[in-house]
């Protein structure tokens, strides 16, 4: 495979096939954890770790797994890495664990992770699968940070916990709550579509 191809495997997850904004996968953590940019980033990075590790393992043993039991096998592999993240985060980053704790176990059922194992890692070699996991994971993280950032700016008037002093009061509360997540997501998807259309024309 040529180098441009490798690069496109890595970068396609950023915009063209962005898991959240284009493929609309992994909505539950994307909407649930993005009350602030930091939470979004933590969730994104945790998901990326699981994505890369499960992609590596799945592509290594893809020929050893009989077709009929591939989904349960992938789920067990993914669940293993999720539990590792859960335990290590609890042990070494307790403050982030406190904010995300509830959503970490849910990475198991994040369709982005299973989707990449099934659609990519089970058909490609290890190196490509790592690149794919990294690209998709970074794209997912980017999406969560943008969504979390927008909601934090509008909802609490701060970004990454730094007060911007743009609102006299507390900001628009609705953006911290669930409806704001959908509103913000809707607008960002519209913008992403616009950008992607422009790229296709060019």
């Amino acid at each position: 495979m040529s180098n441009t191809n490798k690069l496109s495997i890595l970068t396609k997850g950023f915009l063209k096939e962005n898991a959240v904004f284009v493929m609309l996968l992994g909505m539950c953590p994307a909407l649930g954890t993005t009350t602030s940019a930091v939470n979004g980033m933590g969730m994104g990075l945790a998901t990326m770790f699981v994505l890369v590790m499960s992609n590596i393992v799945v592509s290594l043993i893809k020929n050893l797994i009989p077709d009929k039991v591939r989904i349960p096998s992938y789920i067990v592999i993914i669940a293993t890495f999720v539990t590792i993240v859960d335990l290590s985060m609890h042990a070494y980053i307790p403050s982030l664990y406190k904010a995300l704790g509830l959503f970490i176990p849910l990475i198991v059922v994040n369709c982005v992770v299973l989707g990449r194992a099934e659609a990519f890692a089970s058909k490609n070699n290890v190196l490509d699968s790592i690149l794919d996991g990294l690209g998709m994971g970074l794209g997912f993280t980017l999406a969560l940070v943008i969504l979390g950032g927008v909601r934090e700016i509008l909802g609490s008037g701060s970004i990454f916990g730094i007060d911007l002093h743009i609102f006299p009061g507390d900001g628009m509360l609705v953006f911290v709550l669930a409806p704001g997540a959908f509103i913000a997501l809707g607008y960002i998807i519209a913008i992403t579509n616009k950008i992607n259309k422009k790229f296709q024309k060019a």
Binding site: L64, P66, K68, I77, L87, H90
Partner: protein, 198 residues
């Protein structure tokens, strides 16, 4: 490239067996690696909460913790002692199930005479931006309880005729906080104070 494994009963069960055993082995290993750190993190969190709700103590309240009865349930009680072994503060890990979502836990620190020294929210699932203002690092709302004695001060929210100004737009969370504090105070008066000989 190696050919793909065929799906027979034997191969399917073998592969699943191997994957499951490998991952449980790996998880057992990671668990044993992180167990101490997790216990330490939990303990640290508790010590941090205790130092905030009691005057400076010289003993180790966590190792001397005990359970006290409260309305058919039990609460954890921690005693803070000064250098002479006198009890100078009592911390009670209390809870309420009247919260807006789920139940939340509060660490309530009392002086031996029953006056509230400080309270701190431990765990909760209240609405971000509204009910979570009961957290110390979000707003100083919960400082209103400090210095009040529930036997002479009514620590209900003003809407219920008490002295605590509820959190704007989060009356249920405020009520629940008062409920948790009251529960700790009642448990202290009924179960702890008589035994302290104060």
């Amino acid at each position: 490239m190696a050919t793909k494994m065929k799906s027979t009963i034997l191969s399917m069960s073998l592969v699943l067996l191997v994957i499951a055993s490998l991952s449980s082995g790996l998880l057992a290993y990671v668990y044993s690696l992180t167990k101490d750190a997790i216990d330490l993190a939990n303990k640290q969190k508790k010590i941090e909460a205790l130092t905030q709700v009691m005057p400076e103590f010289y003993n180790s309240p966590i190792d001397e913790a005990y359970k006290i009865a409260s309305d058919g349930d039990s609460l954890n009680c921690y005693l803070g002692k000064d250098a002479n072994g006198e009890v100078i503060g009592i911390a009670i890990e209390t809870y309420t199930d009247k919260a807006f979502s789920g139940k939340f836990t509060v660490m309530v620190g009392l002086q031996p005479d029953g006056v509230i020294y400080n309270t701190i929210m431990l765990e909760h699932q209240e609405t971000p931006g509204l009910g979570d203002k009961a957290e110390k690092n979000k707003s100083d709302w919960s400082n209103q309880y400090n210095g009040k004695n529930p036997s002479t001060n009514n620590i209900a929210v003003t809407k219920d005729g008490g002295e605590i100004d509820g959190i704007t737009a989060a009356t249920i969370s405020s009520r629940a906080y008062s409920d948790a504090v009251q529960r700790a105070y009642n448990a202290y008066m009924n179960e702890v104070k008589p035994n302290l000989g104060l």
